[in-house]
Symmetry: C2
């Protein structure tokens, strides 16, 4: 197993709608610096290059970028994205001025990579997980590499019920249409952190149990990680979720369901891991 010092010299970049954060490991500790996301990509590019060189003390050993999408991750390109006015950006091109390999992936996958390698999933070979936020992100990490399938996986849009509520994606009965913060607010008029009724959380836990059982039986990960603000409800959500998943799943043992450990630093850690391990075969 790698030590934190093995990650020194690699740089992670977390692109967000509000801020861009650049991180590296120094003396085994994470060091992060950031700036407000500029509307102009050329401006962002200059600041990323300067910070990466400065923090790595010269040319980084590798650069890993987590970005909102849609992306062409193989080509290292951002196509466009809802909350930043950038279009057709080549992140891969940063490799030339920086003199290092550049790897790019979507932010949910990169945060999942961090949890799998350094966080709640460390030591496991196959790690799947959901990010419970305004939408429901999904990731699967196999042997330290992000798994994509043909395009990219979208486990938050597994279909729980073909006659269920309409999802943001246009389909009916997706997990996201039942258990995302958006779905919960639309149905109750309240944010998840404002709802304390155990019966309500018992129902949400049921949808999520069906979701994690399907991950367990179709993918067979060693652990399943839940991330995102909703996990801060703790046992109100996790107790009925674990109970239902373990009671309802019969054909195979149910993988442990864990809460993510790296919080808002997962994206930066994930960029550093991606910089070091790359995309794999």
């Amino acid at each position: 197993m790698a030590e934190m010092t093995d990650y020194e010299g690699y740089v992670g970049v977390d692109i967000g709608g509000q801020s861009i954060r650049v991180g590296t490991i120094r003396n085994g500790e994470l060091e992060v610096r950031g700036f407000e996301t500029p509307a102009s990509y050329p401006e962002a590019r200059e600041r990323i290059i300067a910070l990466a060189r400065e923090m790595a003390g010269g040319s980084p050993r590798g650069l890993g970028i987590g970005s909102p999408g849609p992306l062409d991750w193989r080509a290292g390109k951002l196509l466009w994205t809802p909350n930043i006015p950038w279009k057709e950006i080549s992140y891969a091109e940063l490799g030339e001025p920086l003199g290092c390999p550049v790897y790019v992936d979507n932010d949910a996958n990169v945060a999942g990579l961090a949890e799998a390698v350094l966080g709640a999933g460390r030591g496991a070979e196959i790690v799947s997980g959901f990010t419970l936020g305004t939408g429901i992100g999904f990731f699967t990490i196999m042997h330290g590499h992000i798994y994509h399938g043909r395009f990219d996986v979208e486990g938050g849009h597994q279909m729980l019920n073909p006659e269920g509520p309409v999802c943001g994606c246009g389909a009916r009965g997706c997990l996201e249409a039942y258990a995302s913060a958006t779905a919960i607010e639309a149905r109750t008029g309240k944010r998840p952190d404002q709802i304390d009724d155990p019966a309500f959380w018992d129902e949400i836990a049921g949808y999520l149990a069906q979701g994690v059982i399907n991950v367990n039986n179709l993918i067979g990960p060693d652990v399943i990680i839940l991330a995102g603000g909703m996990t801060q409800r703790g046992d109100l959500l996790m107790e009925p979720l674990r109970r239902k998943a373990n009671e309802w799943c019969k054909i195979l043992p149910m993988a442990p369901i864990l809460i993510a450990e790296l919080g808002h630093q997962a994206g930066i850690y994930g960029g550093i891991v991606l910089a070091r391990l790359g995309h794999g075969a």
Copy 2:
């Protein structure tokens, strides 16, 4: 892409409750010989060794076995199985008398491997599929190797509805509890080949559509293959299934849904492919 002649010298063994079949490729063509499954494993063992040596013209280059389970595929062991009175059998031990590597996997995975590499999925990198029989088997083949996850995957036991009918596995609302031949007979009193009502098949297609959409969105295979007797109903099943899957799946393009091509020879072909390619990393 490999030619059929690249498989010469490898031997596949298909263990069934009724018969054991041993196959090899000679002059680019499949040659198969078989015998009735003996109640005694030592008897079966001698005949498998003799046939494998005879058909390979000496020591095979590798032996691949598809067997009913439960198995410990990593150890090459059969634990027990419902329809043959064998217990705690080491298939792996055949490697010594035969002087070649031995690989073992469950029959659904081995047949899936054949379809992925030589059948309906040839040329695709990631191939998932269901075997629609008395139960619903499931397989995923990645880059020519059977994918297992932590134990083995059981996509026929994805949960379509936590309040659905009770499945043979004890869980509620598994795909198998809606769309296997057993489930159909229990509900209608008829075998699937005796039912011609399009409205009935439209309903079954709906359950299968939910199943293939979940495979598509969680695993992202390049193609999804359906095998087993029920696929002989042709367009009665496949037309509404393809229509619903494509209509209902929104977030990602739906992978093509193909019918298996190798029929009852899939197990033998799969054994030969497994003998040549092994289990991978």
